[in-house]
C-alpha cells in the first residue's frame, strides 16, 4: 500500500509533464486533459495496491486517462444529441479525433512535451500566464504551490491560469512545434520563461525558501527537457549550464542566519562540484556549436567564477571580455555595470570607477540599488570611505529586499568602524 502510494507520487513527479502533454493533444483541451489525468492517478491509488505496480507506470496512467477521455467524448456526444439542436452550433470543446484511433490503447505514446512548451510560452499569452501555465502543466506544480512561490493570492493565480487556457481555446493557439522559420523567436520566449522561473527561485526575496528551491529545481528540470528535445540549439545548453552553475553556489550564498554572502566571501568548498562539472561540460559543448548567444556568454562567465579556487585566481580579464561581447549582443545598462565591475577587478579600481560613472551618466540606473552598491564597493576598496558610505546609504534606500538591505547595512556599519 505504502509502496504503491510512493510509486504513484514518483510517477507524478517524474512523468506528469509528459503524460499531460500527450493528453492535451488527444483531448484538444487543457482542462479535459487535466481532469482525465487526475482521475487516472486516483485510479492508480486504488488499483495498484491490489493488482501491483505496472511495468511502465507512466504508460499505464496515460492509457487509463486516454480511456477516460474516450468515455467523456461519448457522453458528450450523447448529451449534445439530446439537447435542443438549435441551441449552439459551435462546439465548445474540440472533439477528440475519430473513434477508431481511440480503441485499443497503444502503449507507445509519442513525446508531446515540445508542443506543450511552445504552446504554454506562445507570445499571444502574456509572460505571467506563460510562467504559470508552464509550471502548472509541464512542471506539475499545484496552483497553491505556484501562488506561494510568486507570493500571490491563490485566486489571482487560478484566475491567470483560467484566462490563459481560455485564450488558447478561444483564439485557437496551435498545439504545435513552430516551423523552422519561427523557431528562433519562439524558442527565445521559452528560454526566457524558464530563466524567469529560475531567477524567481534564486533571488533572495522573502517567501517560503523550500518552494523557492523547488522553483530552481523545476526550471533546471524543464531546461533539461528542452535540451533533450532540441539538443542542436546551443542556447538551450547555454541556459541549462547557466542555471546549473548559478545553482551550484546555492548553499554558499547565505550564512546560517540567512544573510547574504557575496561571491568573494563564500566558502567555496560548499559549491556543488557535480553541478559545476555538468555546467562546464555544457558550456564547452555549447560554445563548440554554431550560434553563440547571451545565455552561453553568461554561462561562460559563471564558469570562470566557478573555476577560480580562490577569489584572486578569478580571471577577470576574460570575464570583462565576455561582458563586452554580451554588451555588443544585448546592450543594456545592467550589463554595462557588470562590465565596469569586471574592469575594476581586473584592470584597476580607478579605471573601473570611471567606467561605472560613465554608465551612470545616462541616469537609467539612478534607481537601481545594485548600481549604487557596486559603486560603494569600489569606493570602499579605494578607501574613499565617505563617498562609499553615501553610496551604500543610497543603495539601502533603493533596495526592496530585506536580505539585501541587511547585507548592505552590514557593509555600511563596517565602514564606520574605520
Amino acid at each position: 500500500m505504502v509502496e504503491a502510494k510512493a510509486a504513484v507520487e514518483k510517477v507524478f513527479r517524474q512523468e506528469s509533464g509528459r503524460i499531460i502533454a500527450t493528453l492535451i493533444r488527444l483531448a484538444g483541451s487543457f482542462d479535459l486533459a487535466e481532469e482525465a489525468m487526475q482521475e487516472a492517478f486516483a485510479s492508480a491509488l486504488t488499483t495498484w495496491p491490489e493488482k501491483g505496480i505496472p511495468d511502465n507506470p507512466g504508460a499505464w496512467i496515460t492509457a487509463v486517462a486516454h480511456r477516460k477521455l474516450i468515455d467523456h467524448g461519448r457522453r458528450e456526444r450523447t448529451r449534445r444529441e439530446k439537447q435542443d439542436p438549435l441551441l449552439y452550433e459551435t462546439p465548445s470543446v474540440q472533439q477528440p479525433e475519430a473513434e477508431a484511433l481511440f480503441e485499443p490503447v497503444a502503449m507507445n505514446y509519442p513525446d508531446d512535451r515540445l508542443r506543450l512548451i511552445f504552446t504554454c510560452c506562445h507570445p499571444a499569452l502574456n509572460q505571467e500566464a506563460q510562467v504559470a501555465l508552464t509550471l502548472r502543466t509541464l512542471g506539475g506544480l499545484t496552483t497553491p504551490e505556484i501562488a506561494r512561490a510568486f507570493l500571490l493570492p491563490e485566486p489571482t493565480l487560478a484566475q491567470r491560469l483560467v484566462r490563459a487556457k481560455r485564450k488558447i481555446q478561444d483564439a485557437h493557439i496551435p498545439y504545435e512545434v513552430p516551423p523552422i522559420s519561427q523557431l528562433p523567436e519562439r524558442l527565445a520566449s521559452v528560454q526566457s520563461v524558464i530563466y524567469l522561473v529560475f531567477n524567481e527561485g534564486y533571488s533572495a526575496t522573502a517567501g517560503d525558501s523550500l518552494i523557492r528551491r523547488e522553483l530552481c529545481a523545476e526550471a533546471i528540470r524543464v531546461g533539461r527537457t528542452l535540451c533533450e528535445l532540441l539538443p542542436g540549439e546551443a542556447e538551450n545548453l547555454g541556459l541549462l549550464a547557466l542555471m546549473l552553475l548559478q545553482d551550484s553556489r546555492r548553499d554558499a550564498r547565505t550564512d546560517k542566519e540567512g544573510s547574504l554572502v557575496p561571491l568573494e566571501d563564500q566558502d567555496r568548498s560548499l559549491w556543488d562540484q557535480e553541478r559545476i562539472r555538468e555546467g562546464m561540460d555544457l558550456v564547452t559543448r555549447a560554445l563548440s556549436m554554431r550560434g553563440v548567444g547571451p545565455y552561453q556568454l553568461q554561462a561562460a562567465i559563471a564558469a570562470l567564477h566557478a573555476e577560480a579556487k580562490t577569489p584572486p585566481e578569478t580571471d577577470w580579464e576574460q570575464i570583462a571580455a565576455l561582458y563586452r561581447e554580451l554588451l555588443r549582443m544585448t546592450p543594456s545598462p545592467v550589463i554595462a555595470l557588470n562590465y565596469a565591475v569586471a574592469i575594476a577587478m581586473g584592470e584597476g579600481l580607478e579605471k573601473g570607477l570611471a567606467e561605472i560613472d560613465r554608465v551612470g551618466e545616462s541616469g537609467e540606473l539612478a534607481d537601481y540599488h545594485l548600481f549604487h552598491a557596486a559603486r560603494a564597493d569600489i569606493l570602499r576598496r579605494l578607501k574613499r570611505h565617505e563617498e562609499s558610505a553615501a553610496a551604500y546609504r543610497e543603495a539601502i534606500r533603493l533596495a526592496t529586499n530585506q536580505v539585501e538591505k541587511d547585507y548592505l547595512q552590514g557593509r555600511l556599519d563596517q565602514l564606520s568602524q574605520h
Binding site: L86, E89, T90, H172, E176, P178
Partner: protein, 133 residues
C-alpha cells in the same frame, strides 16, 4: 477558425502620407487580398472612412443618444478590417504581419480577434425572408 483582423492607424499621420506611400500601402493590401482569395480563406476585407465620419449611438434610460465621433478618442483608430478563415492563431498572425500597417508603416497595428460564431437559432432567424428584406 474565423478571425477578424482589425487595422488601427493614426489618422493624422496617415493623412500626411505622400501619394507613393498611399499607393505602396494599397498594393500591400491588394497582395494580401489576392493571396488570401486564391487560397479561399478571404471572407471580407474593407477600409473604413476616417473617424470624422463616425457616429456613436448609446442607450440612456431606454433612449438612443446619438453623438458625433467614434466611441472613444484613442491614439489609434479603427481604419479597416479583414475576415479570414485560418487554421489557427499562428496563421492569422502571419497574415496580420503581412498587412502594410503592421510591417511598413510604424503608425499602426493589427488586432486579431477570433470570431465566436452566431448560435444556430439566430442564424435561422436572420436567414428567414421576413428579416432579410
Amino acid at each position: 477558425m474565423r478571425y477578424m483582423l482589425l487595422i488601427y492607424t493614426k489618422e493624422d499621420e496617415k493623412a500626411k502620407r505622400t501619394r507613393e506611400e498611399v499607393e505602396k500601402d494599397m498594393n500591400g493590401h491588394w497582395a494580401v487580398m489576392e493571396e488570401t482569395r486564391a487560397r479561399g480563406i478571404l471572407e471580407a476585407a474593407e477600409p473604413l472612412f476616417p473617424t470624422s465620419s463616425a457616429t456613436t449611438v448609446r442607450h440612456q434610460l431606454c433612449k438612443a443618444i446619438v453623438t458625433d465621433g467614434p466611441f472613444a478618442e484613442t491614439k489609434e483608430q479603427l481604419a479597416g478590417y479583414y475576415i479570414l478563415d485560418c487554421k489557427d492563431l499562428d496563421e492569422a498572425i502571419s497574415w496580420a504581419a503581412k498587412l502594410p500597417t503592421a510591417c511598413g508603416g510604424g503608425f499602426g497595428c493589427v488586432e486579431i480577434r477570433p470570431i465566436q460564431g452566431v448560435p444556430a437559432r439566430i442564424q435561422a432567424v436572420a436567414a428567414s425572408p421576413q428579416y432579410s428584406g
